[in-house]
Amino acid sequence: MKNTKIKNALSFLRKNPTFTFGLIIILITLFIALFANFIVPFDPASSSPKERLAPPFWSSSANMKHILGTDYIGRDLVSRLFMGIRTSVIVSFLAVGTAVLIGMAVGLASGLAHPGLLDSILMRITDIQMGFPFIVLAIIILTMVEPTVASCIVVLSLASWPAYARVLRSNVMIEKEMDYVAAAKAMGASKLRIAVKYLGRNFLSAIIPVMPMDIAGAIITESLLSFMSIGIQPPNISLGNIMADGRNYISTSWWITAIPGIVVMIIVLALNLMGDVLQKKFDPKLNK
């Protein structure tokens, strides 16, 4: 039983090289995020004025201690990138996790209450959330509250919860009419038990394919907000505020701005590749 599962997974990976490629990049990203504290070659916060704006390895005057060079006060770029990746991963994964939780709660309540007042209210709230230009909402909220890691997570989760809520709501609306739910009800199962045990089970196959893309979106938005200096604040390190620091020196030391962007691009690319394959796999139309 267990062996066939592993075999299936392996054959899936072999048949979908783009998925495998994405997965490997994401695993490396997660490794860096988890162990950033231990694998940074230098203290990412310690500056050394003598070595400021050191060039990266491809330059002839490079100092091989700092492979990607240093920033404007001589902090090691590799170390800062590792810490930035860590922030990106923490913020984006938790933001999408929060969005799924909010979406589940709203979708379940709404679907069970359909048709009814609670359903209407919840759906109008969803409409409002979707009608509000997200970037504007994010900026207003982040100037209203203190921009901490936690508030960034909450703000980013606002971008994707309505989609999850709608998916679960329509799932619940279909499933709750099924015979097996009526049977469970007749046997005296509580509403909550029915909701969690029976109605939520199809939810996963609906949300797994979209999650990688939502995480990718959260990573881009987090780096953007931090670049605009309304997201993650120093001394916390984000790929966005590394770019913001670098932009003042872009004419002479362009790599400080370019490399964090490339890092974001690689992670987002990996997530998009995984999401593409998952979407095809979970699309019932293509699975016939």
């Binding site: 109008r124 409409d127 409002i128 979707m130 009608g131 509000f132 230009p133 997200f134 970037i135 504007v136 900026i139 207003i140 909220i141 100037t143 209203m144 990718a216 881009i220 780096s223 953007l224 670049f227 605009m228 770019m243 932009r247 872009i250 004419s251 362009w254 701005t257 370019a258 962007g261 974001v264 691009m265 690689i266 987002v268 690319l269 998009n272 590749l273």
Partner: protein, 309 residues
């Protein structure tokens, strides 16, 4: 059909009203005083007077009542930082953003269609792989970062195009290229996929069996049929484009709606923010509504489920 549209319009109106109320309250919860920003050295008494002039002296509920009252006579309020009516400021910024969006949409449509069709015709050759590869890559690049890099290369190093501000149409070229990239990528991928899809459908196969040449087969049969899904993708992308334009305008210092809205939020220019948010979300909601209605219109199954036309 008409009943559905009326119902959706009413729902949209309610959503815009709700968004306006939320924005109104949230702005006033930002812990900073715009009158202080206006006059950093004023005394308390002078500040009170200034607040009265700016229309932010009363309690929130009273301010809101006055605001709604003004709305009914078509007055959106006054931007005290720009010393002009909100309508005037919007009127100045709107055409600038309009040009940006128009350019970006044209670029996306032209390149999306051409490259998407080429990728489908030469599917699974190196041409297709090159086009598809680049479109995945462009889809994954952070838009604002592409902007920063292109400003450096094209404007600063090569001195080909101006980088910031807006004086004439040349100033819109670089930002609209940046803005169009993700949309172009999405269109290429979807046009390719939907062409490939329709190539395999029976009516196309039948046409092929009748001996219709493959080029005309692709354009007259596959392409026409693949436009429907692409149309809805285009609608969804328009909404995303609108959000991205705020970011691109920020990076390029491009004085359109997005730049105005950012400055207004940062300076607590309350009435300007409210007007701009209502405008943006109104356009947003109209686009979404148009997508939904086009679904109903184009797909007979949904039309039936909604109770006929």
């Amino acid at each position: 059909m008409l009943a559905t549209i009326t119902k959706r319009l009413l729902q949209g109106l309610i959503v815009i009203i709700a968004i306006t109320v939320i924005t109104f309250v949230m702005l006033r919860l930002i812990p900073s005083d715009p009158s202080r920003t206006m006059a950093p050295n004023a005394t308390e008494a002078q500040l009170l007077q200034l607040k009265e002039q700016m229309g932010i002296g009363d309690p929130i509920a009273v301010q809101f009542a006055k605001y709604v009252n003004n709305l009914f006579s078509g007055y959106l309020g006054y931007s005290y930082f720009q010393k002009a009516d909100v309508v005037t400021v919007i009127g100045r910024a709107l055409p600038v953003t309009g040009i940006l969006l128009m350019f970006a949409i044209i670029i996306s449509l032209v390149f999306g269609l051409i490259l998407g069709i080429i990728a489908a015709i030469y599917s699974n050759t190196w041409i297709d792989r090159l086009i598809s590869g680049f479109s995945v890559l462009f889809q994954s690049m952070p838009n604002y970062w592409v902007g920063i890099i292109l400003i450096q290369i094209v404007s600063v190093n090569l001195k080909l195009l101006p980088s910031t501000g807006y004086k004439n149409i040349r100033y819109a070229i670089l930002p609209s290229i940046v803005l169009s990239l993700p949309m172009t990528a999405v269109l290429i991928r979807n046009i390719r996929a939907s062409m490939m899809d329709s190539i395999n459908q029976s009516f196309v196969k039948a046409a092929k069996a009748r001996g219709i040449p493959s080029w005309s087969l692709l354009v007259r049969y596959s392409f026409r049929n693949s436009l429907i899904p692409v149309l809805t993708i285009f609608g969804t992308q328009l909404g995303i484009l609108l959000g991205n334009s705020v970011v691109v305008e920020y990076v390029f210092g491009y004085p359109g709606i997005g730049m105005q809205i950012l400055n207004a939020i940062l300076r607590r220019d309350y009435y300007l923010v409210q007007g701009l948010v209502a405008l943006l979300s109104g356009v947003f909601i109209l686009i979404n509504m148009a997508i939904d209605i086009s679904y109903i219109y184009l797909d007979p199954r949904i039309r039936k489920a909604q109770g006929g036309l």
